[in-house]
């Protein structure tokens, strides 16, 4: 089997749904910015691409019509290059990297852009028309458990306290705030030109701004402030808006290539794609997904846990992250060292690529070897991908 390499992985800033500066930017345009960012940064000829694969959790409306194709066109990719959209909910953006890598490793392709995009401002969670399967609702309603309820069920099952959840959330904000202060995300972010329009009297005023910073982080939040929030999903519960991931807009993309391609172009890769694993868990405790996925990925990689220096574990909910860290006996010092989705948001289908970008840049900064991206997935799954710096 051949080897697949990541030349680079970049992301747009992630800004708050409905309030952030990207709220009026279409997700296909966000994806185009990320794709173009990767093409520009690597200097490849886009005509050389064998495929463009974009992940998206609700591929409809502005994210519909095979959003990968639309985004690729907007990024200046010629029509000869094919495109596909992939949906595995919150792991879509990791799935696209895996799919790209697998095609390259099988020898079917040499150069693929893989990424993800999601505008939670424009497409509601559940889509514009939620329609549940009657037979399944009758026989197994857990299938459609709301994400908040799955978090509360984990609180019940694993006995995680409100205090621990809030402390985890506060730490996520503090780490993210420090990372931003130190400019640690600067290398991985592709600035986006965002237009915001509003009426000023009879004159329409539109401003275009270069957005380059994540806006969800609250540097000043404290455990005490978070403790004041009301439970969001259960009357007597402990999962709040403050200890859950934020709704966010964003896109990300990575260039995945073969060794032949590297030789031919002289490009330097950042990392080697090691492996990807995805596993199923009960849908009503979907947050446990990484507990199954990470060991499966380690087994495929032939690595032991302590060989992995950094984890980007998507913080869907603090409780879910805490349980995964605890059950897998992960070293908290190696998990989400620059904060996570509680502070910076979780743009569903974009997240997998976004976290890969963050992981690879941090591994490079720390001169560490192995890293892992993992997340839980609605409907009851977990995914994990392992990368080795080269």
């Amino acid at each position: 089997m051949r080897t697949a390499y990541i030349v680079t992985a970049l992301r747009t800033p992630a800004t708050k749904a409905y309030k952030g500066k990207l709220r009026q930017v279409r997700p296909d345009d966000l994806a185009a910015a990320a794709i173009k960012g990767v093409i520009d940064a690597t200097g490849i000829d886009p005509a050389e691409l064998d495929d463009v694969i974009i992940g998206c959790a609700f591929p409809e409306a502005e994210q519909g019509m095979n959003v990968a194709r639309i985004a690729a066109f907007k990024a200046g990719v010629p029509y000869q290059v094919p495109c596909q959209t992939v949906n595995r909910f919150c792991s879509s953006g990791l799935q696209t990297i895996a799919t790209a890598a697998e095609r390259i490793m099988a020898g079917f392709a040499d150069c693929i852009v893989a990424g993800g995009t999601e505008s939670m401002s424009l497409i509601p969670m559940g889509g514009n028309k939620f329609s549940a399967n009657p037979g399944l609702v009758h026989a197994w309603p857990e299938t459609y458990a709301s994400m908040g309820i799955t978090a509360e069920l984990m609180v019940e099952k694993y006995g995680v306290s409100r205090e621990d959840q809030d402390a985890f959330a506060a730490a996520s904000h503090q780490k993210a705030a420090q990372a931003i202060r130190e400019g640690r995300f600067a290398d991985e972010i592709v600035p986006v030109e965002a237009q915001i329009c509003g009426l000023d009297g009879l004159k329409m005023k539109c401003s275009v701004e270069q957005v380059s910073v994540d806006d969800g982080v609250r540097a000043d939040t404290t455990v005490a402030a978070l403790a004041k929030l009301k439970p969001a999903f259960k009357a007597s519960g402990s999962v709040t808006a403050g200890n859950s991931s934020q709704m966010t807009d964003g896109a990300a993309a990575a260039l995945v290539v073969s060794e032949d391609f590297l030789k031919r172009t002289g490009l330097q890769p950042m990392a080697r794609f090691v492996c990807f694993a995805v596993k199923g868990v009960p849908p009503e405790i979907m947050g446990t997904g990484p507990i199954e996925a990470i060991p499966a990925a380690l087994k495929l990689a032939g690595l032991s846990l302590d060989q992995v220096s950094l984890f980007e574990l998507n913080e869907a909910f603090a409780v879910q992250s805490l349980v995964c860290i605890d059950e897998l006996k992960l070293d908290p010092e190696r998990v989400n060292v620059n904060g996570g989705a509680i502070a910076m948001g979780h743009p569903l289908g974009c997240t997998g690529t976004k976290l890969t970008a963050t992981l690879l840049h941090e591994l490079r900064r720390r001169k560490e070897r192995y890293g892992c991206v993992s997340m839980c997935i609605g409907g009851g799954m977990g995914a994990a991908g392992i990368f080795e710096m080269v």
Partner: protein, 789 residues
Amino acid sequence: MRQINKVAVLGAGVMGAAIAAHLANAGVEVLLLDLVPPDAPPRGEGEDRERSRIASNALSALAFAKPAPLYAPAYAEYIHPGNFEDDAARLKECDWVIEVVLENLEVKLKLFAELVVPNLKPDAVLSTNTSGLSVNELARALPIQVRRRFMVTHFFNPPRYMRLMEMVPCAETDPQLLAAMAQFLGKRLGKGVVYGKDTPNFIANRIGTYTGAAAWRHMTAMGLTVEEVDAVTGPALARPKTGTFALWDLVGIDTVVRVLDNSYALLSGDDERELFLVPEEIRRMVSDGLTGKKGKGGFYRRETVEGESVKLCYDYRSGSYNPCVRPKFASVAAAKQVDDPGQRVRTLLSGGDRAAQFAWLTLRDTLIYVVKRLAEIADDAVNVDNAMKWGYNWELGPFELLDALGVAEFVSRCERDGVALPDWFKEVQSFYRVEAGKKFQYLPEKHDFAEIPRPEGSVSLTLLKSAGGEVERNSAASLIDIGDGVFCLEFHSKLNTMGGETLAMIQKGIRRAEADGIGMVIANEGGAFSAGANLMLVAMAIAEGAWDDLALTVKAFQKAMMSIKYSKVPVVAAPHGLAMGGACETCLHADAINAHAETYMGLVEIGVGLIPAGGGTKEMAIRAVRLAEENGADVSSFLFRNYQNIAMGKMSSSAAELLALGLMRQGDGITLDLDRRIHDAKLKAIALAANYRPGRPATGVKAPGKSVASSIKVQLWNLERGGFISSYDSYLASGIADVITGGDVPGGTLITEEYLLELEREMFLKFCGQKKTLERIQHMLKKGRPLRN
């Protein structure tokens, strides 16, 4: 009609802001001004908003005030905050300027001289909301040409909810302008106008404070407790539940003291002046901060003892709080059994206990005081009665009460007590008389009756009935000819609940209107439009297992509703106050709704474990499908809204909210003036009659289908898991989802209106067979509030 399109409210205190809110409710643009705060930046420096902070903050606070001053939060956009300095020139834009600043003569005079007079538009009205100052004294500061346009417009708090508007002209007020303003205040703002004179505290507060002071005097003399007095001076005396002292707590005891002081200071010629002298005990309460609800407590206080909220009562003798002792009076208990307010008071007074004795003494003194002061404070009896009914929520005004007690009987009992009475009063037989559709009142100075003029555009069913306008009648409802070919269907059962007789009269009324008229209005003059279907009948049928009867009753209800919807003449519903369950369904089946602004309507059946089965669920299903078709959109979002209204038992908090709930539609109307709503509904019926095309039961309706029902059930599963609803809530809501989506069929299956009615009936009977539904019904009947089981 005089056009008043923009109003300046000067003073953004609680009252000023609430008045501004009510003007916004009427669709009038408002400039809300107050002082520039002392710490604000000079003009032109810093943010302008800072200089108008007082008004801006008052405007923001409206959203959180309880009870809500605005009909709908979005109406706040009609109010523009500003300040006295920077926005002075904008007064020129206003058709009416109302002053609501501090109750202080100097402050008001200064504001008039410096701000108002130089900036007032030449034909604009200027009024003051003073509750106690002399209008003529205030007028003296004004140039003569402004005095002609000056008057008191005294709102009662809260202005949205209290109907009373006391208007008092100064000596130079233009009578035509006064009348034009009265018309505007009545028609547009829905106020009940009462004309007062330039006497201290005008009418309502003069009598209201006397009544309270008299209660205090007799309470202390008889050694009664605060809670005992409130038990007697509430509904037993045809007054609101707050009685005497709970009302003072609500108003603020410091405010009561201020009004009493004002009365004492100004009423030098009043032979009962001493009564207005504030008792030492009350003065001490105020100085101790015991000013009522807004202070550290008043005559009542809530304290948390061992985690439980306990109500404490003030003992005026010791000056301490003790646990309240629920008064037990046979006379009060007997009175509470009586519906008719006059009869109720008679029952109370005929008792032999201390409560009856106390009730007589305070009522006697109060009524004699009103009789003695009539000519001084008002033009006539009707102004006084209206003031007390609209400003103090008395069920009967003092003169109406005298009629109910019998003036002769009252006089003889007073004489037995040895109390002096004015001679003219002893001659009076009654203060009111109704003859052939006209109402007359006794004018003492003329020793004769005179007709009470009715404003144009008001319909009184009572008067029409007195003139033989009632063409059909049974124990629960009547049909009244309201002229121009329009018949009014009136409910008149207890709480206007709907039973077999009501349904029979609906059918009969429709047939009559079709045969002899051009349209029908459904309206009544009760305390509420209707509490809905008679729950007691449902409970009894369930208890007896009379399922066939129940099925027939539901079918009869549906038939009546369908006869409204598909009558050959237009039907307009004119609800006011509560319109719950079946009453809401009645409105939904009418061609149009002309609601009073204060209409609290909803399909609330789930609260008693039932589904709206008088066509309400069916109607909301068809409306959602039709909206989707009209908009070329998927039915889900329309259906979810309509479903949620039913599954959450949502009630509107104003008629304006009914549009957002989808219970009223474009073209339906809202009337602010309670007395005009039937007239307005009649106009609507006449307009619809011009080219009326009767409908027919819907066929070919695309069922939303079982996938939509399943999507709803997913939400229910999550809500139940989240502890927001009980498993029985979820069971009921699932059943409602099954009916409103057209049964267990694929989306798009063609169904009919009759089939949806059948689904409603089946689900209704299924729910009736559930133990927990019976528990919900029984709880509602016993306690008057829903049970969550």
